[in-house]
Symmetry: C2
Subunit: 336 residues, 2 copies
């Protein structure tokens, strides 16, 4: 555990010079010969600067917290990977926190943010965004990025082209000839749910189709919720021939429910979902899905934080790459 002072002694310079060399400060001058000596000392003693001391003095921890609802949800995987790559390329690290429940964790998060334990904060819309944390982050000037949320807070808002994606999914079904298209939405009240619902409604309206409230049902993301919701939706309106799901996981449940009711996919009911995952093509009925730029959302979120900008309420949409419809076997023309 050599310190900067040991290096300084070994290289016969002062600690300040060592600091300049290892931080490659371009404005401050060190002769080539001295720099060389210091570098040799660093190698010889196998020196790594102490993270805590550095963070204390410079008030930069090099850490970014990523808060999700459920780490096992594969949809976050891609976002996480994008964030992770961008972060580590710039010498930062990513801290994962599951905010799903208990107050314990929320308070641990407050400590991290309040104590300047992290430089940035990335919050997923369904990760239980707490006002406490947002307020704290703003006060401490911890730059914050909200994913898929729509709040009036001093943070960057980053979102996906949800309306477009839902419209693409719905249009695909309309093009196939469906006239009764139901919708298994994500949790009500979340802004991305509303945007996707708007996309679904817009397409149905322009095709002069029934888009009443008896055609859409909202539920939190889980296989079981998807199943239950689909069953009650289809039981209530037997003329429905297609379903748009707002999440891959609920789509799995939807297919399960349709089969329980004695129908087949896609012969009796077509299913199209938002979010395309690798397993989609290995399912009993490979799912037609709209691929979203999740990876790009992850990279963009970290970029914003590294830029240390604090745009208040500036909302931007990730649309590169654009959402893309992947047609597989779960969608077909309606029967008869």
């Amino acid at each position: 555990m050599p310190t900067i002072a040991d290096i300084a002694k070994y290289a016969a310079v002062s600690p300040a010079v060592v600091s300049r060399v290892i931080n490659r400060d371009p404005t401050l001058r060190v002769s080539d010969e001295t720099r060389e000596r210091v570098n040799r000392a660093v190698d010889a003693l196998d020196f790594t600067p102490n993270a805590a001391a550095r963070a204390l003095r410079s008030s930069k921890s090099g850490l970014i917290a990523f808060v999700v609802h459920d780490v096992t949800n594969p949809v976050y995987g891609e976002v996480l990977r994008g964030a992770q790559m961008t972060a580590s390329q710039s010498g930062n690290a990513l801290l994962i926190s599951e905010a799903s429940n208990s107050g314990d964790r929320a308070s641990r998060l407050v400590e991290l943010v309040g104590g300047r334990g992290v430089d940035g904060l990335i919050l997923q819309a369904d990760g239980g965004i707490s006002d406490l944390i947002l307020a704290r982050a703003a006060r401490e000037r911890v730059s914050t990025v909200l994913l898929q949320a729509e709040l009036d807070v001093p943070a960057h808002l980053l979102r996906l082209p949800d309306k477009t994606a839902a419209a693409m999914a719905t249009s695909h079904l309309v093009d196939l000839g469906h006239r009764e298209i139901a919708c298994v939405a994500t949790e009500a009240g979340l802004s991305f749910t509303e945007r996707r619902a708007a996309g679904w409604r817009a397409v149905l309206k322009s095709a002069h189709m029934n888009n009443g409230d008896d055609r859409i049902a909202y539920c939190p993301t889980s296989i079981e919720n998807g199943r239950k919701t689909t069953v009650s939706l289809l039981s209530g309106a037997p003329t429905i021939t297609a379903v748009v799901c707002f999440n891959f996981v609920t789509a799995l449940g939807a297919v399960k429910g349709i089969r329980e009711l004695g129908w087949r996919v896609p012969e009796d009911i077509s299913v199209v979902t938002i979010h395309d995952l690798a397993v989609a093509e290995f399912l009993e009925t490979p799912l037609t899905a709209v691929r979203m730029p999740l990876f790009a959302m992850g990279t963009r979120a970290v970029e914003l934080i590294l830029r240390r900008s604090f745009a208040t309420g500036a909302e931007s949409v990730i649309d590169d790459p654009k959402p893309q419809l992947i047609v597989r076997r779960s969608s077909a023309p309606p029967r008869c």
Copy 2:
């Protein structure tokens, strides 16, 4: 950004007392009345101790690094969740690092470990365990847990009941009447691969069956590798009627490959895999799988680190809950 000094002033005590109160040090004495005053001050000023200063003085960062090969691999999800829960329950946080490639990242990890940026290190066997990092961790007394590895290093070795699991999968096929059982293994050279292979071989041997090298093939985990490997395995030995896969992801590829060859699962070829994921039952052919105690491995890893123990080479097996065979539709008696 109030400091401990501000609290001290507000509560009319010295900083040392504030420190004792917020750290709830039971051995050191503070009168109830003073404690109350300090707590009021903390609330009034909305104080959170500075993480960096605390880490610097106490040389504990409250951070544990979890290094995996690929964050999108769903098999890690469960391990991660177990680790995450245990960590946050004790006021620690988890840092995710993808060690898959580039030297950049490896060096960032060295900085974290070398600079005492983390208290503990959890390394997945296929996460590219670098000697550099292990040496550094040992020198800095960062307690380290190796998952599914078998190295002679000063770290805890935690592993799954791999031999048992592979034997369970293979026995299931033998019980169904299969006499020619191939094996799509994970990467050669990894210790868990060897253990699983041993389980497969043991069952075949006790059933007096062919367990030669032309029945087993090794490949890194990916859908495509699973597909290719299975195709070449089956093409070379047409009498094979069943396949044991060592990973869920390669199993997806295996099923794909079997279909490409014009065969059906399970009518022509049965497939059993190690690792059970939620999607298993939604696949075209729901996969028979051995469920492993992944969550428990995650919790155990963090517990070991929090205990700050440095057992050298002590290997322990996670066997609670025990591995469990989940029979689905991908396994059936052989044809004729």
